[in-house]
């Protein structure tokens, strides 16, 4: 490869660099080739010794990525601090708003939990009272039957009916309870997942 070929290839491959930087690289390598030639090397050999433009460009580009960022000048840091202090009423109130929102969310979540659990709870209470009433009714009905058959029979009927209600509601309470435990667990896990993601993004 001839020197001009090499240099124009390199220039093309280093398109992404700023003009100044690119030119510095190019003049460095141009100089190197010239020096080799001055020392007696043939143009083509000199180019070959330096390497292929592709490899060199790759090295340069990957090297740039690993360069650490330049430390921010002190005046900039001071300026930022001053601005932060001056602007504190603004971002201070924004932070407060954010905190209030977060609290509101927490309260909503807890209310959601309470509401969710009210339902099985109500069923539970219902079934317990049904049971109590059922027992009293059936037993009591026997006693009453001796006095007044009609009332006794009605009461017995009611007792049995209540027993049935108790069985059904108890079953429902258990089922609902189980379901709601599952829902609560999933909900809590989902919340935790959200929180984790936030953390992950922050970190």
């Amino acid at each position: 490869m001839k020197k001009d070929e090499f240099l124009s290839s390199l220039e093309r491959l280093l398109r992404s660099l700023k003009r100044e930087e690119r030119n510095r690289f190019l003049s460095y390598y141009a100089e190197m080739i010239e020096d080799y030639m001055e020392d007696g090397c043939e143009e083509e050999d000199a180019v070959q010794r330096i390497g292929s433009p592709g490899e060199i460009a790759q090295e340069i580009l990957s090297d740039r990525e690993t360069q650490p960022a330049r430390p921010t000048p002190t005046w900039m840091k001071i300026g930022v601090i001053v601005l932060l202090i001056l602007g504190s009423p603004l971002w201070g109130s924004l932070v407060l708003v954010a905190i209030c929102c977060a609290l509101a969310v927490v309260i909503m979540v807890m209310s959601a939990y309470v509401i969710i659990w009210c339902i099985p709870f109500i069923f539970g209470v219902f079934s317990v009272s049904s049971l109590v009433l059922a027992v009293v009714s059936t037993v009591g009905s026997v006693i009453i039957m001796f006095r007044d058959t009609a009332t006794g029979t009605v009461q017995m009927g009611v007792g049995i009916l209540l027993a049935g209600i108790f069985l059904v509601t108890a079953l429902l309470t258990l089922e609902l309870g189980k379901r709601f435990v599952g829902v609560t667990k999933k909900f809590s896990r989902w919340l935790a997942g959200l929180y984790q993601k936030r953390r992950g993004v922050r970190a």
Binding site: Y28, E31, E38, D39, I50, G51, I60
Partner: protein
């Protein structure tokens, strides 16, 4: 030789090449090559880094109708090289330590 190790040493080699007198890219490579292998593309980032650290400065001189870039070592650069020389004792200590561990294994 390990690339990381080499990169570290080459810095000092370059500074050493510039210690007595200023020099330019091609010459530096020739001077260092007697001691350790170095290529043009390796030299460039080292020169860039040394310049960023203030260990050397550059200027251009006209030569055969083209501009040649010369490098000159600074006081900071001289101090840097001095540190390297002072640290040599620790380098040999580390070497002995590593060697001792290896030989102990084989023993």
């Amino acid at each position: 030789m390990d690339t990381q190790l080499k990169k570290g040493f080459l810095e000092f080699c370059v500074l050493a090449a510039l210690y007595r007198s200023d020099s330019y890219g091609y010459q530096i490579i020739k001077d260092i090559s007697v001691c350790i292998e170095i290529s043009e593309s390796t030299l460039y980032p080292i020169l860039k880094r040394l310049e960023a650290n203030g260990c050397l400065e550059t200027y251009s001189v006209e030569h055969n109708s083209r501009l040649r870039k010369y490098y000159r070592i600074t006081e900071t650069g001289k101090e840097h090289i001095q540190e390297f020389l002072n640290d040599w004792q620790q380098v040999t200590d580390i070497y002995e330590f590593v060697k001792g561990a290896v030989e102990h294994e084989e023993g």
